[in-house]
Amino acid sequence: MFELLGVPPQALFGQLLLGLINGSFYAILSLGLAVIFGLLNIINFTHGAQYMMGAFVAWMCLNYLGINYWAALLLAPIVVGASGVVIERFLLKRIAHVDHLYGLLLTFGLALIIQGLFRNQYGSSGLPYQIPAELRGGTNLGFMFLPTYRGWVVIASLIVCLATWFMIEKTKLGSYLRAATENPTLTQAFGINVPLLVTLTYGFGVALAAFAGVLAAPIYSVNPNMGADLIIVVFAVVVIGGMGSIMGAIVTGFSLGLVEGLTKVFYPEASATVIFIIMAIVLLVKPAGLFGRAA
């Protein structure tokens, strides 16, 4: 704890900013999970694998088809989202009426299969993916060197998160979605195609994961395990924020990134566990999560 005194304020600002950047990934990923859980009541354990697929599709676009980062940022979520639609139509739909546990097992199994396939094909050390030329370099902020790309990550994820929140909470389409969540039978009775809505929602949640994957490709190692390493933390974020809460997922994602960043300064050894400690405390005090409604 002596280190507390040894950290100058400048270093602290730097770490806070970095925490925010990591929080961006947590936010997008937990947002996708929250959207899926909200409507489908499925705990999507494939999310990490779909994040990884996003990064790999970006790599494939570049190396096989010569498609650059910017196009991949749009294309990869569409491709991976489409694969999510297929999964929902052929697999998840069939177990929609049974217990949560089945969905969890199915998606977990799928994640293992997808990771295994990618590992067989590409190995585990990963693939190189360069930062796009427009975003190379960085700015010296005085208290730290901020790489342009990291700044872009924060902005891009904030935009995507807020747009998603706006779409679900403030638009007509969003109101259908929320209605279908509350009472699917009644919503269908009003002539709204609920099964289609469910399928598209899953596809959208998956596309969010893939979007995060493309954002991550230039800065993290693009390897088949990249999602598995992250997904457990993201689940903790969702639990802390409250299952199914859109704003909860966004706010918790960013703030836990900050907490983790601070831990890395004061007691780095604990930075991998701090989120789980917070999760345990939150579950004790507020079992529905910080933003969740008690069931």
Partner: protein, 401 residues
């Protein structure tokens, strides 16, 4: 029902008679490593392929020796590795456990092998404690260790003017050993260690730690980590302008697969220490070509090469002693000089340390490389007795002083 009982009894009888019928000697080799996680490219199935090549080259069948190879995934967890090792030794009749990357797992296997009086030939793990204070009469440490890495990369960087260091250390047995051994080299050469940060293993985001390293103003940022951790930290160091800002990166354990994953654009100029590179000479090239055909075009890492050479030496010792009594085979392995196409001539020391030269490589620029896997140029060679810890300084109780 009766018929079934009779059949079962016959089968059982045949099973019991089998050992008496088999005149030939048989050994069972267990390749225990990471088959799914961050070290699976540098060890994994590649090590099993290397072991098979060793059996093939030894011509075991012609010599009346039956060699069976089994493999398992220890998931980089000491408890998982220990359970598999006990099962192998107690129930499955495994004689030798090979490879075992991840020092924390290797130290556990080292201990179990000693308890069960079997043999462990380690290629994958780095901790110099395996032949230091944790040394065992049943273990040979083949390919490299943290002491040699520190001498190679650490020594070279201090010589080049990098006299102040800050470490990013993977928070487990290996990282601690590598940091300790490198810090010793740095201070001995008159340099200073300004600080270190222990990073959770395995990690994804190293930017916070890199920022601390940047703030320390150390001339060298020593990366006491491996595999995916190294790749992520080098990638992110580039992004945060560590190298552009005048600090040097000391990749203390970098494998060719890591360079492949980083791409030459990012990895160029990196100095690293290895005991094997596929493009060293005609013999290594020929062997690596055979390996690549079986491994989907990938070139072998030094760990996989070490599994091949270690197993070859073990089989020679079994042949020479005409048996597989662990004490006799270990004595033979230490008495007999080693000779194989990949590491050349060498020896196994009393503490279990395999002695061979180490090479200091520099990663080529993209313009210098002829294609995939053509990544290194040799900067220097460290003679075996400079690279590895001298017996006179050894903490190993097996070494008589």
């Amino acid at each position: 029902m009766k018929l079934r009982t009779l059949l079962a009894a016959t089968a059982l009888g045949a099973l019991m008679a089998a050992p008496a019928l088999a005149q030939q000697l048989s050994v069972k080799i267990g390749v225990l490593n990471d088959r799914s996680g961050l070290y699976s490219d540098i060890t994994g199935e590649g090590s099993v392929i290397a072991a098979r090549l060793a059996v093939e080259d030894f011509k075991a069948a012609e010599k009346g020796l039956k060699v069976e190879i089994v493999s398992a995934d220890h998931q980089n967890k000491p408890d998982v590795g220990s359970t598999i090792a006990r099962q192998w030794y107690d129930q499955d009749g495994v004689d030798v456990i090979m490879d075992v990357p991840t020092s924390s797992v290797a130290l556990a296997i080292n201990q179990i092998t000693r308890e069960k009086n079997k043999i462990h030939i380690n290629s994958g793990a780095a901790s110099s404690d395996l032949t230091g204070k944790a040394c065992s009469p049943n273990t040979v440490h083949w390919t490299y260790d943290t002491y040699a890495l520190a001498q190679g990369t650490g020594g070279a960087m201090v010589k080049a003017g990098g006299d102040s260091w800050f470490f990013l250390t993977a928070d487990y047995a290996f990282g601690h050993a590598l940091e300790r051994d490198t810090a010793a080299v740095v201070t001995k050469a008159g340099g200073k260690v300004l600080g270190a940060v222990r990073t959770p293993f395995p990690g994804t985001d190293f930017s916070s730690f890199l920022l601390q390293a940047q703030a320390s103003k150390a001339k060298v940022v020593g990366l006491a980590n491996a595999g995916g951790d190294t790749i992520n930290s080098i990638k992110q160091a580039g992004e945060f302008g560590i190298v552009a800002g005048g600090q040097k990166l000391g990749g203390l354990l970098v494998f060719i697969n890591d360079v492949h994953a980083l791409g030459l654009q990012t990895a160029q100029g990196l100095v690293l220490t290895e005991s094997f590179y596929w493009d060293l000479n005609d013999q290594t090239r020929a062997w690596s070509d055979r390996y690549a055909k079986l491994a989907g075009g990938k070139k072998p890492s030094m760990i996989q090469a070490g599994v091949y050479a270690g197993l070859l030496h073990y089989l020679k010792a079994v042949e020479a002693t005409k048996g597989k009594d662990p004490a006799a085979v270990m004595a033979k392995m230490k008495e007999m000089p080693t000779d194989d196409p990949l590491f050349g001539k060498g020896s196994v020391r009393a503490d279990g340390r395999k002695m061979h030269d180490m090479y200091l490589f520099e990663v080529k620029k993209p313009s210098e490389s002829k294609g995939p896997w053509d990544y290194y140029k040799q900067v220097a060679m460290l003679k075996a007795d400079e690279a590895f810890k001298p017996l006179s300084e050894s903490e190993c109780p097996l070494v008589k002083k």
